[in-house]
Amino acid sequence: MKKNDPKQRHRRCPALRKMLKIMKLTTLLFFIALFQVSAKSYSQETKLSLKFENETLENVFSKIEANSEFSIFYKNDLIKNSKEVTGEFKDVLIINILDEVLKSENLTYNIKDKLIMIVPKDINKINISDQQQKSVSGKVTDQTGASVPGASVVIKGTTTGVITDNNGNYSLTNIPANAILQFSFVGMKMQEVKVGTQTSVNVSLTEESIGLEEVVAIGYGVQKRVNLTGSIATVDKKNLENRPITNSTMALQGATGVYVNQTSGRPGADAGTIRIRGIGTMSDANPLVLVDGIEYDLRDVNPSDIESISILKDAASSAIYGNRAANGVVLIKTKTGQKGSLKVDYNTYIGSQSIMQVPDNIVTNAVEYMEGKNRALTNEGKPIEYAQTLLDDYKAGVTAGTDPWKYANTNWMNVMFKNAPIQEHNLRFSGGSERTIFSASLGYLDQDGILLNTYAKKYSININLASEVTKSVKIGANLMSNYWINTESGYTTNDGNGEGGLMGLIYRGLPMQAPLAKDGTYADQWVRVPGHNFFRNPYALAYEGSHTNKSQRTLASVYIEFKLPFNILYKVTGSANLYFMNEKFANPVINLTNTSTGVISPMGNIPARGVIQRNFNNLNLTNFHTLNWSKGIGDNALSALLGFSIETFESSNFSAQNQGYLGNELTELSAGSTNPLVSGTSAKSSLMSYFGRVNYGYKSKYLFEGNFRYDGSSRFSKGNQWGLFPSVSVGWRINEEGFMKDIKQISNLKFRASWGQLGNQMIALFSYVDAVSIGQNYNFNNTVVSGAAITSVSDPKISWETTTMTNIGLDGGLFNNSLTFGIDVFNNLTTGILRQIQIPAQVGNLGGPFKNIGSVSNKGFEISGQYSNRIGQVKYNLGGNLMRVKNNVENLNGQIYYTGNRITKEGDPIDSFFGLEAIGIFKSVEEVASSPVQNSITRPGDLKFKDLDGNKIIDNNDRKVIGSVIPSYTYGFNLGVEYKNFELTAFFQGVSGLNTIYTGNLSKPYNNGAGVTRNWLTDSWTPENPDAKLPILTTGSGNPFNFQTSSFWVSNASYLRMKNIQLSYNFPVNLIKHVGLNSLKIYANALNYLTFSKFKLTDPERLLTKDGVDYPNAKTLTLGVNLSF
């Protein structure tokens, strides 16, 4: 006796509902087994009302399933000759119904909560007559050692068997001499044991390792993983569980084929950029993110509400999203409720964050700093800046130690960064009645930043409701909302103000500068540093003034689902995604005390005291309709989807500022009195689409899928608005073939191939019109007058970028799927790449038009594998994935595009670093004289560049591609070990083959009055140290030729990071159940604790093209509890 054949079930029921059910069942059974939860009897509580009129047992069971959460398993043979049933039941328990409908059959049943097995009555009868046969007994357990009740034990080749009792015990008599016993249980791998001479056979079943029955979210629906023909990565919830990720973008890190770069760790502003299979555009390369089917910002999803993540990577899976899908699609499904009694989950953690990586070689000794600067200036032929008397005075002052405020040796990294607490609470109520399920969750995140006086708080709420209003109408609603507030210095860490904001100032901090003066007031510098005339004391700036960002995003959606005749399901969804953001900068006046003279003066060269307030509003309305149909005819399974959608996007902003404040305290716009300024604007865009999908399967062996989307976008001019995006894919489940049946080692093998076209429409609105910009104002006699001018030109013929994706894949499982693997080879060719081209300045110095300029390819492969097994009581798993992608600009019609120190040209990756090739350091005057001319001031100690064009002159014509910002390899691996109730998991992630050129403070010595790293003082060229690694010591502006973009300054930004390691303990159920808990888990988690990288000046996980430094990422240690009751 075994579980009903899934293929048959698939035909018998609407596929979608069934799949969901199976998924739930699998999960449920898994938990039953794992936690030994005594089945809280759904079957003892649920009362059904049903009516049968001359119906087959098959129909009876279907009706029971359709009207309850029960799933009924049986072998078709058992009921094929059954009698028809008639009867009416009102509020009757399932056992009473079953007793009634089975009374005339030689059948009985076994109920395990929502699972019902129909078995022959005589299975437990013992045939005593055959004395030749023996008997055997034993116990069936799961891998944790817990008994498995309800498992079937069948003698192979017969229908004879038993079901294990509540303790997992069984006993069989009268078995043939050479009997083989088959042990099986839903969601577990079947095991066969030769009885031989044994009288006792104990079996431990393991769960089906990768759920082939697992259901994966796809565009506008779900699909069993086994039937997928496209390339879809899913994020293992297990990897995600309990990681203290503060931004849901980080949840994708480690997924096969995905590169997530978290460039800033500022609380509330720490979203990573997501790149799927390389970069195929020069415009917006962000994937389309849909939460429960609606476009939404991943940042605003509470990680704890995520049920599953699917990443659609090839055309087969994402073409149904048309002109927004070329960068890949991320589908997030949030948690829903389940029928049954109320379930409460509470998850919480507290933790401590600290800075992950700071430059460890900054010179923090003031005298050393000053002496080094003098040396640099001497090398430049300039007079020294720090007189010997000053140096002597400073040395004496430091030695005396009585006035460390004046004679400071400050390490600004230590001053400005701290260990910061973090805590998060998530509470979820879920449950459901017969017809309605719900889930409601509340989340609260309270995070202090590792940089002084930065913090964020997030409040989130997510409510999911679904109700079967009538037999044919289902209504559901989802409300997801969050409110973030984050605060930092008014000087801002990431951008804006001089020297790259507060982070720039910290990287610019000098040892002679102190945070505080002796009397506890903010300190001013007393040693004057040219280029650093104003000490914008970072410590003071961190505490005075503020930049506060409050954002609220709400997604409200409602759907109605109708069951129409001919098995057609019609679904209408309407949703609103509303975003409101209020940003306020309060710029203070800060008084500083000179640590030598005691003179108090206001901090110089910071924005004038005042308030700037900006409001942003976005409203995105979505309305879509889908028709779903499926039918099985013999060995053929056919399903189809047809849909229509309209989306509108409106945004508006408003900004006002005021000055003339009486103090730093009041930060309302109205509290100011002078120089008010105001501005604001709004924009609108829309999309209209038709889409559809056809699936066809033959014997579940041969799979075919076709998709299309016909998209109209307002971003293009009339006549260029509509585009068709088709895809086709096939799958061949090789292991289902007869010739594979006997190869026991191979439990799954599937070949996939897909082709399709996708679009990317994300360019600035109205790029197709020659616009006359307003705001080109002037003033006459101090009165502002309006000006308007064309500032850029356009190409009205532009259209979306088209990416043609070809993907071939192989999925496999070996040894009962204990080893699984996937291989994908892809070729994505994007044509008609949209880019604002640079036109010669002589044409009015206009911004060039956006044009469809050429093509870029991303070719590569992905490999992933998982292996799980056990050694005695220890269960373990290992997994990893690797993506290789080669980005190549195929065709730009001969054009070359420059952006700062980067270039986009044919034959190289997009946006490659472009500069001279450094080939060493000049060692002698003779070497300079005999080399190609660099410039009039070249001398020994300077960098030597290669004369690529051989004209004996080094200039811009000698530049070449010297680095790439696109990783060639992205990889991750995970491991897990379980022993009894303990579990240890670890997750590593890395990228390689990518570069950065950091040119901010500390990248060059004494950069415009900034600091210096020690290697410049110890390992730069001097006549005595001609083999030094670095060229001659000069200030950053003292030698423009050494510091120009060249291969010498290209850093390898590859890294391998232990993203996460976690140790958890699950309390045994029998310990906690008498306090009313269903589960209790405690864990300790370490995030980002190990990084291997050659790049040391900042975190290598940075915006590779950025000159400066962003708010650093934190490593976080947390302790947490998950409990449910």
């Binding site: 007079p383 019109v769 307003i774 044409v843």
Partner: protein, 507 residues
């Protein structure tokens, strides 16, 4: 019930999908909707003025940074690339001013050209003929300003007179310097005819007839066309519309903006239109006057300090100097911002530039300006310059006649300097006028153009530089075969292969 819900759902769909994709922008005009009214034309002219303030063209800070590439001043920080220019190591890519100036001039030219080619399409019912002519004249004046800058710095450049058109103009090669000059003079002549001599208060700051003559004088002077230059300068003088402001320092005070000496200025207003001259000149000290300039100020008795009879005391070097020294330069011991300047106040050379800061000598300022908080207008053309232009051109064309003396007399009188001795030879007068230009216009960015047109840069820029103690702290280099012109920027060459680089420069 289900049927009703179904009907409503379907109905909603088709209700919402009429012409949903047709959206017009609400935050800008399109070419179809613009240039229809007088207001549009005026906005287009205003936008051309706005280009004057653009990055690294004549914007306040940049105009005075030109000092740093002369023996007048020094920049520690290589602001806008001027130290590279000063030391002769500029190339086509490493100096931001060389790139930005090119683009910004063409931005202004493009805007002027747009107006000139489109204004005729505005119906007469919307704009009077007089106003139309004035807008055209203003645009031609501005176009000439931009072309003069290009012509002076790069030599011949592509001459574009039509509204920006990528297809037609992207690959135009350079015209000759003479062609550019001809167009400049033509534009200014045409502008002068239509421009008014003055405006009502609300329009004060627009181009005037005087400005057109003055600009013409400048272009011709720079071209060495002495007779024509003298005539143009004389036209300004003969207008009798301008007089020297009584006090040199006061000419540059905020409260005296637009005074009687101002012919054309670039107008700033906090908080919308700002520059950073106050912080640059004072706190940053990145236009640090050099000893060479300070020593070039005569004694109040009109004698150079190297003259043994001048009364110059090296131990007390800052007494009894030309009044313009005190109006232009901060030096150790000077009174400024209500305090005494110390040798470390201006750490680069010991000197700071006072001219173009708004601070007074004897008042502690209520607030110190930070970056982008200064709003003092930059005087692009002033009457003192016209007088000096006339004197120079007339002297070169005719010789030191009385009109030369008369022009110089006005300037000397204001500075309370003795008049020039009669009977100077043409050569002596030339040297005095050149010296007078350096002193009178010190700190205004003009000297850079002067030493180039005089071809003296190869002398004065191949020299060491010294601070207030006479300590050498650097050496300048000037390649006479190359550096009289800037390179065509790398980006311009990259985007238009028809452009030919100036001699001596790489790509």
């Amino acid at each position: 019930m289900e049927k009703y819900i179904l009907t409503i759902c379907l109905g909603l769909t088709f209700l919402s999908c009429t012409s949903i994709l047709d959206i017009e922008p609400t935050d800008r005009f399109t070419e179809e909707t613009f240039f229809k009214t007088k207001e549009h034309a005026e906005a287009a002219v205003n936008a051309t003025y706005a280009s004057l303030l653009g990055n690294s063209l004549l914007s306040g800070s940049n105009a005075i940074f030109f000092e740093d590439a002369t023996p007048n001043a020094y920049t520690y920080q290589n602001n806008n690339g001027f130290d590279y220019i000063a030391t002769g190591i500029q190339d086509a890519a490493n100096s931001s001013v060389i790139n930005n100036c090119w683009g910004q001039c063409y931005a202004g030219i493009g805007r002027a050209n747009t107006l000139l080619s489109k204004i005729e399409s505005i119906p007469v019912t919307s704009i009077s003929d007089a106003l139309k002519k004035r807008f055209i004249a203003e645009s031609k004046f501005l176009r000439a300003v931009f072309y003069t800058q290009l012509w002076a710095l790069y030599g011949g450049v592509p001459l574009i007179l039509d509204a920006p058109d990528f297809e037609k103009q992207a690959n135009l090669p350079r015209n000759s310097a003479d062609e550019i000059l001809s167009q400049i003079i033509k534009d200014l002549d045409e502008a002068a005819v239509e421009l008014p001599t003055s405006y009502a208060v609300v329009d004060k700051g627009r181009a005037t007839k005087g400005a057109a003559y003055a600009m013409k004088a400048r272009a011709l002077l720079w071209a060495g066309k002495w007779t024509e230059a003298a005539t143009a300068a004389k036209s300004v003088i003969d207008m009798k519309a301008y007089t020297l402001f009584p006090d040199s320092r006061g000419t540059f005070f905020f409260e005296n903006e637009g005074n009687s000496e101002v012919i054309f200025d670039l107008q700033y207003k906090f908080p919308e239109f700002v520059h950073s001259m106050d912080i640059i000149l004072d706190a940053f000290n990145t236009v640090a006057p050099l000893a060479d300039l300070v020593n070039d100020f005569y004694m109040a008795n009109g004698k150079p300090i190297i003259d043994p009879t001048s009364g110059y005391d090296a131990k007390n070097p800052y007494v009894n100097r030309d009044l313009r020294f005190y109006a232009s330069i901060n030096y150790p011991g000077a009174k400024y911002k209500g305090a005494t300047v110390s040798p470390t106040t201006y750490p680069r050379t010991g000197y700071g530039q006072k001219k173009y800061t708004i601070y007074k000598d004897n008042e502690v300022p209520a607030a110190i300006k930070a970056d982008n908080q200064s709003e003092l207008n930059y005087i692009f053309l002033r009457y003192a310059d016209i007088l000096l232009m006339y004197a120079e051109a007339q002297n070169e064309a005719v010789g030191p006649d009385q009109s030369v003396y008369d022009a110089l007399k006005l300037i000397r009188l204001r500075a309370k300097m003795p008049e020039f001795m009669p009977g100077l030879t043409k050569e002596q007068m030339r040297q005095e006028i050149r010296h007078e230009r350096r002193i009178e216009l010190a700190g205004e960015g003009m000297y850079y153009f002067d030493i180039r047109r005089w071809r003296t840069a190869e002398v004065v820029m191949n020299a060491d530089i010294f601070n207030y103690l006479g300590v050498k702290f650097g050496t300048r280099k000037f390649n006479k075969d190359r550096d009289y012109l800037w390179p065509i920027p790398t980006i311009a060459l990259q985007t238009n292969s028809a452009l030919v680089q100036n001699p001596g420069y790489g790509k």
